[in-house]
């Protein structure tokens, strides 16, 4: 177990024309599952590759377990990485794939075999050891890649979108297994994904990245409930947070907090907003209600998500009085996008 620390990390490409990582400071906790989340092109994979030593930073330092490893090659960093493609050696059997890092470390054969079987057993792939990667399914390949990473007993696991090649159903179960697996071995893990569901489900903490910067670092609940800026507010949540412009500020509230008037008790500290509904979607029991709110600020198109437990009849083309609990509102500066003080409504 170890702590990974990034100090003012900068990575430029094309002699400074592209700044993929733009001054990132980030420190993991011991044994933590840290997720780097962001849209494609935000620099999250570059950041991971810089930690791995596959990219040299333009400026700044990477520390693993208290040691500066910036100048060290990947093999000297005691890390293990699982690639998006899994990068299994296609000409080697599963067993040969798993023992490859151990052979590179010149570990004796009996010890290699023992470790390989231990990892294979942990991941439930013992029966596949004699096969070649092309004879495996996507899920099996992912486990082999994990086993290969595991046998090195690394200080840190680096995972680059390891679930993105799996189909939706398998992804859900693999996500669950990945989390259990990490809790079992307790190794610090840095996980890159663009999928907020994976990030929310797996991460002890989430670092939301955009344009090479960390926009917010926090527990899933903080990132969701208290976004640091409008980027995080719009990027996380499906549908994303509604933002209503009002006097140089933006009033934000999550779709599930925009509710019909009769749902919140009348005594509650709430804001009533007239809501002109124009379209309704039924999605897995929830109702997504699209329409325009007025009264909070400028008239803005927003979404309300009504859970299955809310039965209030709503139909398109009608206007209703909806409410938002005042404690659920978040305020942002319209210019900078950063969080601001609450605005009197």
């Amino acid at each position: 177990m170890a702590v990974v620390e990034l100090r003012q990390l900068v990575k430029e490409f094309d002699s400074g024309r592209v700044r993929a990582v733009d001054g990132v400071d980030l420190t993991t906790e011991e044994g933590e599952y840290l997720v780097l989340l962001g849209p494609s092109g935000c620099g999250k994979t570059t950041l991971l590759r810089t930690i791995a030593g596959l990219e040299q930073p333009t400026a700044g330092d990477v520390l693993i377990d208290g040691h500066v490893v910036t100048g060290l090659p990947p093999r000297a960093r005691k890390i293990a990485m699982v690639f998006q493609s899994y990068a299994l050696y296609p000409h080697k059997t599963v067993l040969a794939n798993i023992v490859f890092p151990l052979r590179a470390a010149r570990i004796a054969r009996p010890e290699r075999e023992r470790k390989a079987h231990w990892a294979a057993k942990l991941l439930g792939i013992e029966h596949l050891l004699a096969r070649k990667p092309r004879q495996l399914s996507g899920g099996e390949r992912q486990r082999v890649a994990l086993a290969r990473a595991l046998v090195r007993e690394p200080l840190v696991f680096l995972l680059d979108e390891p679930l993105s090649n799996l189909d939706a159903k398998l992804r859900a179960s693999a996500r669950d297994e990945l989390k259990t697996f990490q809790q079992e071995i307790g190794t610090t893990t840095i996980y890159v994904t663009h999928d907020q569901v994976e990030a929310m489900g797996l991460g002890d903490r989430i670092a939301v990245l955009s344009d090479g910067r960390v926009r917010q670092l926090g527990h899933p609940v903080d990132v969701y409930d208290d976004p640091a800026d409008t980027f995080v507010a719009r990027f996380i949540g499906s549908p994303p947070m509604n933002l209503v412009p009002r006097d140089g500020h933006l009033v934000g509230f999550r779709p599930e907090h925009l509710l019909p008037e009769d749902v919140l008790p009348a005594g509650a500290d709430r804001e009533t907003v007239p809501f002109a509904v124009d379209r309704i979607e039924y999605l897995s029991g929830d109702r997504h209600v699209y329409g325009t709110v007025s009264g909070l600020g400028e008239a803005t198109r927003v979404v309300a998500r009504l859970p299955a437990t809310v039965g209030t009849p709503i139909s398109a083309g009608e206007s209703y009085d909806f409410v938002v609990a005042r404690e659920r509102m978040r305020f942002f500066d319209a210019q900078t996008g950063h969080r601001s003080e609450a605005v009197r409504l």
Binding site: L54, R75, F100
Partner: protein, 322 residues
């Protein structure tokens, strides 16, 4: 009259029925049409000469007396009794095997250099490819000058370095090495020129194989702790093996069938020390006028080239499957 959309559609359909299928629509006819040029080419320039060669090998045709008389295997018997033939056959194998091995090793080294990123890469690529783009004969003539028995610049460099031309020097006290005059050096020279000429081709083929390897694999191996040599021998080479095989076989075939290098550099000498099947067949059949014997010698190339061609096709097939 107003034409409604429905009317227009009906007339289109009628037009479609009346239109005849054109040649361009008939796949089977087109297939033959497009195949014909290559079929004619192969028949006229491969099959006919091959049958002719077999025919001549069993005849007493000479340049002076072109009348065809069947003589059975007499040409082969005479060829087998000729020590120069055995020398040529041995040389052909020796040159091919040594050149092929060196071409693969140097080609691999060059390929690794060519896929690396560095400043001035284009000029290195250009220089590396130059020998392959030079016509064989021109290249061989340039080497003829380099290996000249008196004015060889190589000898001059060796003399300047003190390795040659003074008493007690490493390579002898004589002023020249006589590259093409000493049997062993002449054989080495012929091999060197083949390697020089064919290494770029092998390198380019191997570069194509190297860039086809997903970058992830090399990076995974680096993260897994493998150093340069382990990555090369355990990841890169196994994955490019079919491509390396193709490069090796191309090198072998080009060396095996080439007579220009031998012809220009040594003319088979000294004393037939560098004679190969192709040059010996040429000297016997064309220069010597004994067409029957020349054809018989040349036919010995056939089984070996056939084996090489099969090996190439199998390697290519493995690439497709893998």
């Amino acid at each position: 009259m107003t034409v409604t959309a429905t009317d227009r559609r009906t007339s289109d359909v009628a037009g479609m029925h009346t239109a005849r299928r054109r040649l361009a629509d008939r796949d089977s006819a087109l297939a033959w049409l497009f195949l014909m040029p290559s079929v004619v080419y192969i028949l006229a320039l491969v099959a006919v000469p091959f049958v002719l060669a077999v025919g001549f090998a069993l005849s007493d045709v000479t340049a002076g007396d072109p009348s065809y008389d069947f003589v059975g295997f007499r040409n082969f018997e005479r060829v087998f009794d000729d020590p120069v033939f055995w020398r040529s056959l041995g040389n052909t194998f020796l040159f091919t095997a040594v050149s092929m091995a060196l071409i693969v090793v140097f080609g691999k080294v060059l390929a690794n250099i060519l896929v690396a990123e560095f400043r001035g890469k284009w000029i290195v690529r250009f220089l590396v490819l130059l020998p392959w783009t030079t016509p064989v004969t021109l290249g061989a003539i340039a080497w003829l000058w380099l290996l000249d028995s008196i004015f060889s610049p190589i000898d001059w460099v060796l003399r300047e370095l003190g390795l040659l031309g003074r008493p007690g020097a490493l390579l002898g006290a004589e002023s020249n090495l006589f590259w093409l005059g000493e049997p062993d050096l002449a054989m080495g020279s012929v091999i060197a020129v083949h390697v020089w000429r064919l290494t770029p081709l092998a390198a380019v083929i191997m570069v194509a194989g190297l860039v086809a390897i997903p970058r992830d694999l090399d990076e995974a191996a680096r993260v897994d702790g493998a150093g340069f040599w382990r990555r090369m021998f355990e990841v890169t080479i196994p994955l490019t093996l079919p491509v390396i095989a193709v490069a090796a076989l191309f090198g072998a075939i080009f060396t095996f069938t080439d007579m220009a290098v031998v012809d220009v550099l040594t003319n088979g000498g000294p004393n037939n020390a560098t004679q190969v099947l192709t040059s010996w067949a040429f000297f016997r059949g064309i220069d010597g006028g004994d067409v029957g014997q020349g054809a018989a010698i040349a036919l010995f190339l056939f089984p070996l080239l056939l084996a090489a061609a099969i090996a190439i096709l199998r390697a290519v097939r493995r690439m497709e499957v893998g």
